[in-house]
């Protein structure tokens, strides 16, 4: 009898991941054999095709339960939603990279982004501790390299900082997993829900260490210190990718643990420290935005707070909360990518778009771009009538219903603080200032950047009017 290397694997389950992996190999191959011939758009085109294939395959899984790797990877509504978010982030960053990337490194970068996305998608469907770790490390390894893929001292520093701090966090995560395995005798998340574990100290300590690792990846305060520096140092498209894909993948793991891998009745105690750091993040992240002069750092702090909002939605552990969390995450994906797309659009090889000073007087030079940026900033700040506002209202409602009104209160306070920081960007674009002449030249804007900005705008507006509320997410979460 021949042992099937995939166990009970169903190829359909990992088809999106396989599509991305094939695309990344093709990119490398094309880069190797046809480098002078293919332009930067060629590699990106292969990458986008692979992404599209992955997105379609993931969509086909919607509502079907497939499993691979001995039950370590499952699909269904939940997995599909997060795979699609990763695909959106990947497609957006690839498009931005095509307009800005270093031609010498294009093949490697595109391939690394695709590989990282394999990891992120693996996390989206991971149902046991080992696939979680595998996905997380695949994503992280790709990101270490991506951060350093540019000839800049800051970039190398960024990559190294990320590598060391992230490895530390991975250590916590791995140690926690080991304890959890010791407590339950199984690597399957579902087995962690066994009621007798509630009284096992190993389970508690294992959960704690595991959650430290996740909190680091979600860049919650006080595990956030890496984020601003790494975001600042990495190339713009990589930062855009990291800010969305890492969060989405880690939130997927977190949600699966919260909703499917805890003994009944323990959730509020096991997760309490996470809710506390989420609350701290909403305040500290928004406060941190106030003093920034760099768009990437600003959005790094913004992301710290935004994860806090999403966790607030999940805090009650209700099905509605998960729906709202996903809604807000998708909206955040579009508005955040949109802001990065605008930044890329006005950037040249020196990434001018990353510095806030470049936005002075943008409304006169590029009125439509400035209007789009204003819209994204208002959406991130949660002003009506944007999807950001709707998402926050829904989160507030669910947090009050589920007994976490204090998190809702912190959300409101954090939002109030953040207004000033987001408004600073808008003010710079619209008010006449002395630094107006800084980027006086009008460099042409790449069509792909325009397309990205437009698609993100459409995404945010569509989210406002057609709230994505996949009602059947929870039953499919396994």
């Amino acid at each position: 009898m021949i042992l099937n290397p995939f166990g009970t694997a169903d190829w359909m389950a990992i088809a999106p991941i396989v599509a991305l992996a094939i695309a990344s190999l093709l990119v490398l191959l094309a880069d190797l054999v046809a480098r002078p011939a293919i332009s930067r758009y060629g590699a990106v085109a292969i990458g986008l095709l692979g992404t599209a294939a992955a997105a379609v395959l993931a969509a086909m899984q919607y509502g079907h339960v497939y499993a691979a790797f001995f039950g370590g990877f499952v699909t269904g509504g939940f997995t599909t939603v997060f795979e699609e978010i990763v695909a959106i982030a990947l497609a957006g960053s690839l498009a931005l990279y095509a307009t800005l990337g270093d031609p010498k490194r294009i093949g490697g970068t595109v391939a690394l982004m695709l590989w990282g996305s394999c990891g992120a998608m693996l996390m989206a469907g991971a149902a046991n501790l080992m696939t979680i770790f595998l996905g997380l490390e695949l994503l992280s390894l790709a990101l270490y390299c991506l951060c350093g893929m540019v000839d800049r001292r800051g970039a190398r520093e960024s990559a190294l900082k990320y590598l060391i701090l992230s490895s530390t966090a991975s250590g916590f995560l791995l140690f926690g997993m080991a304890l959890l395995f010791g407590a339950s005798g199984s690597v399957l998340l579902a087995d962690l829900a066994r009621p007798q574990l509630a009284a096992n100290p190993l389970f508690w300590m294992g959960s704690g260490l595991f959650l430290i690792g996740l909190a680091f990846k979600m860049s919650l305060v006080p595990f956030h210190a890496w984020a601003p520096d790494v975001y600042e140092g990495a190339p713009l498209p990589v930062t855009a990718y990291m800010s969305v894909a890492t969060k989405a993948a880690t939130l997927a793991v977190f949600a699966r643990v919260l909703y499917a891998a805890l003994p009944a009745g323990t959730a509020s105690h096991v997760m309490l420290p996470v809710w506390i750091v989420a609350g701290i993040s909403m305040i500290a992240g928004n406060v941190g935005m106030l003093a920034q002069h760099d768009l990437k750092r600003l959005l790094a702090y913004s992301g710290i707070a935004q994860v806090g909002y999403i966790l607030t939605a999940m805090a009650g552990g209700s099905a509605l909360g998960l729906r709202y969390a996903i809604y807000y995450l998708v909206a955040y994906t579009f508005m955040n990518l949109g802001a990065f797309a605008v930044a890329t659009a006005i950037s040249g090889e020196h990434e001018e778009g990353a510095r806030l000073v470049s936005y002075a007087g943008l409304a006169r030079r590029r009125p439509w771009l400035a209007a789009a940026m204003t819209f994204f900033m208002l959406a991130l700040a949660g002003m009506p009538p944007t999807a950001g506002f709707l998402g926050k209202i829904l989160i507030l409602a669910t947090s009050a219903d589920s007994g976490y009104a204090w998190l809702g209160g912190l959300l409101v306070a954090g939002t109030a603080i953040s207004l000033y920081a987001y408004a600073k960007v808008v003010r710079a674009m619209y008010l006449p200032q002395s630094g107006d002449h800084h980027v006086a030249d009008l460099r042409p804007i790449a069509p792909l950047a325009w397309i990205s900005v437009t698609l993100c705008l459409i995404g945010v507006i569509a989210m406002t009017f057609y709230p994505l509320t996949p009602s059947n997410v929870l039953p499919l979460l396994r």
């Binding site: 190294l160 900082k161 060391i164 701090l165 530390t168 966090a169 916590f172 096992n200 100290p201 190993l202 389970f203 508690w204 300590m205 959960s207 704690g208 260490l209 959650l211 430290i212 909190a215 680091f216 305060v221 006080p222 595990f223 210190a225 890496w226 601003p228 520096d229 105690h269 096991v270 309490l272 420290p273 750091v277 500290a284 406060v287 941190g288 935005m289 106030l290 003093a291 709707l390 829904l394 603080i417 000033y420 009017f465 057609y466 709230p467 509320t469």
Partner: protein, 662 residues
């Protein structure tokens, strides 16, 4: 019965076309106005006419009753739970759509002639089409938020059109006044919507009405009150009526369409739409019925004291809407909407007829300076005569039927005082409308008489605008006959002005009752001591008295021979209470404007700089201080970051060690 308004779950895409065609017209007229030129008028009229045709085609769908639900429904957008947006065409909406698009198309046609030569011809039709679209949004919406959006948009369109001649300061002031008073109403409706959503977690009419019995009584009264504040502002009910006479600053077709036939009746629509709420709250019924009766009486009294032909019609409109509000307020829903239907025709006709006169007399609006026009403008005379006979409730004319339905309805629903008010107002209506007719058309022409001999001392007090409609600048042809394009629509309106009332003949077996079967809740009515026939007789007797007084004062031989002196003495001796319109404007100025100015001064000088700015300043300073603190932690040094991380991890570990060790 009442949840019929939910409509069918099926789709009816024709509704979307019906709804959006005028918007298309507005966009085209606005975007391609310079290119369209005079064709803009025809395009706009054609699109409103197309909407009317679609409304006629939807007759069957709108009146059908399938599985206990009435009308046709088309979903547009499913937002978060409880917030579904769609279009609903049931008999009530259908009636309004008929008037909006039918009368609207006729008035569009008329405007092609009336606005001919205006510099902003295309802009006018863009606004008019936009108004029709907004009004259709209001009446077709199947939920409160859509209704409020339409409500706000018609207010905006009205603002644009009252201030259409923006170079006239009086027009701009009137537009602003109308807008501000209407915003008061919008806030009221918004308040009601908040209460409804808080109670039923839905904005849909169906959900809100199905729960009509489950609201706490005080809550329901507050909901009705909020809705009625909106209705009162839009429909010029006391004390929010002061904007309507001023709104006559707009072009006359605008007055006919917006400030007579359609927009000002939105309040009647709102109450008729929310009949399930009103019918279970006696206090709200009492309030609305009383305000409606008061407005009917007050409008009629003020109508007797005006000299500006359009202002007379404006107060008459206010009075007639008072009737409608009284009707739907006390629970006589079919009567209230019936009067809306007939009023739309004869009042549009009266306004368009007055437009014929104003047009022919080069913008003269003061009836003291008219006289003897029956010979000079025979067509306008016939038009006005039919309109006046209709509004007075002459037997056989349309208002005879609809007005009697309301007056009799007040008695049926147990409001004898309102019954008396209704009869008295009918007499006053006959008086002031015949006064208008006699002074304008009988005797000899007084256009050449010195204004001071006619008692025109203070143009602004007499309600005489310093300059009238500046549209037709045709000084050479002083009494030129209007083009057929203006005469035809008015002629068409004569037919329903006379005959629309016959639809209501026959009580429970009338076509009217069949049309509305299942639309309104059926309240318990008492059998009044006075029969319907006797009521009609009493009303008509009162009308005859009013007509006789008007005839004696303005149409008798002596009065006609001595017209100039009599008009002068009436003008000079006008009681201050009447010439100041019961001091409503002054009262609103003293109570609201002054106090608002005081509050504004307080907030501007004291609260804002010291309290709010101070708080914000302190908050900003402390936030920046916290930001600096955060930055001082962000040294860029790896070991510092690792230290922070480990600190956090240590806190976690202590917690989990304690939690696990329990």
């Amino acid at each position: 019965m009442i949840h019929h308004v939910m409509g069918n779950d099926g789709t009816y895409p024709l509704l979307i076309a019906l709804w959006l065609l005028p918007l298309l017209g507005a966009i085209l007229c606005w975007g391609f106005g310079p290119w369209l030129k005079a064709r803009a008028g025809w395009l706009a009229s054609a699109l409103v006419g197309a909407s009317f045709v679609l409304a006629v085609l939807s007759w069957g769908a709108g009146t059908q009753s399938v599985g206990g639900t009435l009308g046709a429904h088309q979903s547009l957008l499913s937002w978060i739970p409880g917030f579904d947006f769609g279009l609903l065409l049931d008999p009530l909406a259908l009636l309004w759509v008929f008037v909006i698009t039918g009368v609207g198309a006729l008035i569009h046609l008329y405007s092609i002639g009336y606005m001919d030569g205006d510099a902003a011809f295309a802009r006018f039709f863009a606004y008019m089409n936009f108004f029709v679209f907004a009004m259709l949004t209001l009446v077709l919406s199947d939920n409160f938020v859509g209704l409020l959006i339409g409500w706000g948009l018609v207010g905006l369109a009205s603002y644009f059109l009252i201030g259409f001649w923006f170079f006239k300061p009086s027009a701009v002031a009137a537009a602003r006044k109308a807008f501000v008073l209407n915003v008061v109403g919008d806030v009221g409706i918004m308040f009601a919507i908040f209460l409804i959503v808080a109670n039923v977690h839905s904005i849909g009419f169906g959900d809100a009405f199905a729960a009509a019995g489950s609201y706490a009584t005080p809550t329901l009264f507050l909901i009705c009150l909020g809705l009625f504040v909106g209705a009162a502002a839009k429909s010029a009910q006391v004390p929010l009526h002061t904007w309507l006479p001023d709104a006559m600053e707009g072009p006359t077709p605008v007055s006919a369409l917006i400030h007579a036939a359609t927009m000002v009746t939105a309040g009647v629509y709102l109450i008729a739409r929310c009949a399930p709420l009103w019918s279970v709250n006696a206090d709200a019924q009492m309030l609305v019925g009383t305000i409606g009766g008061l407005t009917a009486l007050l409008g009629a009294i003020l109508g007797c004291a005006q000299w500006d032909i359009k202002r007379i019609l404006a107060y008459s409109t206010m009075s007639q809407i008072g009737y409608m509000i009284m009707g739907v307020g006390v629970g006589a829903y079919e009567g209230g909407v019936a009067h809306f239907f007939t009023h739309a025709f004869f009042k549009a006709q009266l306004f368009l007829g007055s437009g014929l006169i104003i047009h022919a007399l080069a913008n003269e609006q003061d009836i003291r300076r008219m006289g003897g026009l029956a010979k000079k403008l025979p067509y306008a005379f016939v038009v006005m005569l039919v309109g006046v006979l209709a509004i007075c409730g002459t037997p056989g004319f349309s208002a005879f039927f609809s007005k009697d339905m309301i007056i009799y309805g007040t008695l049926q629903h147990g409001h004898p005082w309102l019954y008396a008010v209704g009869i008295l107002t009918a007499g006053l209506t006959a008086y002031y409308m015949l006064r208008l007719l006699f002074v304008t058309f009988l005797g000899s022409y007084r256009g050449a008489v010195d204004p001071s001999d006619l008692g025109i001392r203070h143009p602004e007090l007499a309600g005489l605008p310093s300059d009238g409609d500046p549209a037709p600048q045709d000084a050479t042809a002083h009494h030129h006959a209007p083009a057929w394009i203006m005469n035809l629509p008015v002629g068409i309106l004569i037919v329903p002005s006379i005959f629309a009332g016959w639809l209501m003949f026959g009580g429970a077996n009338s076509p009217w009752a069949h049309f509305f079967a299942g639309q309104f809740p059926v309240p318990n009515v008492v059998v009044p001591p006075i029969s319907e026939g006797a009521t009609s007789a009493i009303v008509f007797a009162c009308v005859l008295v009013g007509a006789a007084v008007a005839a004696a004062r303005y149409a008798s031989k002596g009065a006609l021979a001595d017209a100039v002196a009599r008009l002068r003495s009436e003008s000079v001796r006008m009681p201050a209470l009447l010439s100041n319109r019961f001091y409503f404007d002054a009262a609103i100025d003293a109570l609201c404007v002054r106090s608002a100015q005081l509050a504004g001064t307080f907030f501007g000088r004291v609260a804002d700089p010291h309290v709010i700015d101070g708080t914000v300043r302190e908050a900003a300073i402390s936030a920046r201080w916290m930001g600096t603190l955060m930055r001082s932690l962000q040294t860029g040094l790896l070991r510092a970051y690792a230290l922070i991380l480990v600190f956090g991890a240590a806190c976690f570990i202590v917690y989990y060690a304690l939690a696990g060790g329990r």
